[in-house]
Subunit: 415 residues, 2 copies
């Protein structure tokens, strides 16, 4: 088993140096990381070809193979991503609040880096570059643990980034990859409290659950999205159809895609056929309740499980509900607290839905697909938090720093 | 074993109602909780007398017995604490940030309650009233699990508070106590992810460690403070003596009390005798390094362990260091990242210490004892976070809420 203590100690030492860097120094290093990523293009693409071949030989599904594959364009996008992070404002050293106490103490709360951030993720190798760049700009060293299928690709990307760090005069240990993809090592990483300040899992529901179950390091859960769109009885049917079409089909494999459609009984006969016609263009499979199937005979019966599931595919669960309260109750029961939307023309329904739904992002008359750091104007994102602690919703640079209090006095003691 | 699922479900239902309350409604309920706490004075004090007798019979130490004991004055202070929380600004429903995106979507981030907060704590029964009042004002239901020694006291306090909630027309299940103080039930509470949004342990290092080790619910670690004061070579010796005296002896049993004194070798001969003379007034036991003991022969030899320990007593570890870098390295090694102070007249030393020390609160020329929600102007506090996630340092009402995004549009879809 890999010696995580050695990796952790190196990361902590690098984090100490990194915390003292100013923005231009960090940005120059990010540019060098991007330069080296492009300079090592051959090496990275050839490593990726090996990973893809091996995965195909093992029978990996086409959709997963696509996620694993790096093309020259995707590699360039990753390098550009690093340069984009360099252009973002530095989240470290901001004065967040402060003032003078009655006893004369000057107190300020400033943003500071976390220190060492662990990232556990699955097959997409672009996460390697994105996560490392964001952590670096946020002043933290990162310890990356990607999926076994992408290990050669990830190793080649990390070698390139570390070369860039070295060339820029920075400690390469600010970016480290754990190449040992055994379960035991992942488990040990989740409990590496002596060195890790934060752990961010990025991947499917199984990975997130495993991390939450095992980790003693503080975790930010990301990305499981069983997202709902509720078509309220006053909804504009054409708008509802466009929003559902976009939320379900524009990219079904991502966490902000919708998984369940709730339709008010009063509008179901008018709305469902229009929505279904639009979804038919993409051959979306509908799984409906009894009442749905009376209106849409092509729908297959939905099981209880279908309402709890993140399909991440061209499949949609549909349910006819009696009013907003039933919709809210259904969402409260099945939602993963990611993103939910209402389509309505009714002011009271809009406000009630916005206030009552307990999710990171709640939409009125818009697609759930907007829940994204780039769309929200945060610049790049390291993930979408579906927990309530620390950060909720898309996490950009400002969500991966912490703060401390600095208090200056002239001998004050507490009475 | 107590059915935590039933308790959790009731708490979640109460949390839903509580989230919809406006500030005056919550404040009236807090006043009613305070009223009933005073009205049940006899019942609470007699339950406490039973707890104290039982604890004394079991041989509980005097200092712990004192923490466990409720006097009429302490009970009044607890009721007053509830009224004080009623007077604090409502942390829920604040617009934290927002704006309009290029596509016309109006996005806002608003503060919302966590939902259900679990509190695991030790012998001090005043935590029962304080924590429940803060959670309630923050819009969250709480599930309390206090120490077994205080179980009758806590039950009587919670009965009174629930009576107050009922009288104010609120759901009493917003405040629940787990009277079963078995280890198994505590463990189950730590893994009650279906109902708990947050878990805050309050107590000694052992409790905190056990919770971090076992919990799958998101945790905020609180309160273990191995706090340092570093007397830099340019320090004003009289100021240093006053700060050390205050930080060590004004209340040794609390987490912001100092535990280790670091003295620069260049000022040790001048400073240590003055500091030691002041500490002698409170008969503080000194445990020093070799160099300390050459200057202060009364000091006993310090072991490695003494530097890692939170004494919470009239004991102080002392070490002579060669310059600020050795002081910073010692703090980095032994600190629990709570509060550290430097005493200096040197600008560069002050700034270096403030930037480099990785603790929740870093002081220049002031006592570590100021790390406290009340002192920092946050009103009451629910604990002092020593972790970096979510909240760092004293946690007031604003630290026990979360946020969500509300996005309003007119049919926008993502391209």
């Amino acid at each position: 088993m890999t010696d995580l203590n050695a990796i952790g100690a190196r990361a902590k030492a690098a984090a100490g140096e990194l915390a003292a860097l100013r923005a231009p120094e960090k940005n120059a290093a990010l540019e060098a990381m991007a330069d080296e990523t492009l300079a090592c293009r051959e090496e990275i693409l050839s490593a990726n070809a090996n990973d893809v071949d091996a995965a195909r030989a093992k029978g990996m599904a086409e959709q997963m193979l696509d996620r694993l594959t790096l093309t020259p364009a995707r590699l360039e996008a990753m390098a550009k991503g690093m340069r984009d992070v360099a252009k973002l404002p530095d989240p470290v050293g901001k004065l967040l609040s402060g003032g003078t106490l009655d006893n004369g103490l000057r107190i300020e709360r400033v943003s500071v880096p976390f220190g060492v951030i662990g990232i556990i993720y699955e097959a997409r190798p672009n996460v390697t570059g994105d996560a490392a760049a964001l952590c670096f700009k946020a002043g933290s060293a990162c310890v990356l643990r990607g999926g076994s299928e992408a290990v050669h690709t990830n190793a080649a990307i990390v070698r390139a980034m570390r070369r860039g760090l070295g060339r820029a005069g920075r400690n390469p240990d600010a970016v480290q990859l754990i190449e040992d993809t055994s379960r035991e090592t992942a488990q040990a990483l989740m409990r590496l409290n002596a060195y890790l300040d934060l752990l961010i899992p990025r991947g499917g529901a199984g990975l997130i659950r495993a991390v939450v179950e095992s980790a003693t390091v503080p975790v930010i859960e990301t990305g499981v999205g069983n997202c709902h769109v509720y078509v309220e009885k006053s909804a504009d049917v054409a708008m509802a159809a466009e929003i559902v079409y976009n939320a379900k089909t524009s990219r079904p494999s991502v966490c902000n895609a919708m998984e369940t459609l709730l339709v008010d009984a009063e509008i179901a006969e008018a709305a469902l056929p229009v929505i279904a016609a639009r979804l038919r263009e993409k051959r979306v499979e509908l799984r409906g309740c009894e009442r749905t199937r009376r209106i849409l005979p092509e729908a297959v019966p939905a099981s209880e499980e279908d309402y709890a599931k993140e399909f991440l595919d061209y499949i949609l669960a549909v349910k006819v509900v009696d009013g907003i309260d039933e919709a809210l109750a259904h969402i409260a029961k099945y939602s993963t607290h990611h993103s939910e939307a209402i389509v309505t023309r009714d002011y009271a329904a809009a406000e009630k839905f916005a206030r009552r739904v307990d999710s990171a992002a709640v939409y009125v008359n818009a697609s759930t697909r907007f829940t994204d750091g780039g769309e929200f104007g945060l610049g790049a994102e390291i993930g979408i938090s579906t927990q309530k602690l620390h950060a909720r919703g898309p996490m950009g640079l400002e969500q991966i720093v912490t703060s401390k209090y600095i208090i200056r006095g002239e001998g004050q003691v507490r009475v």
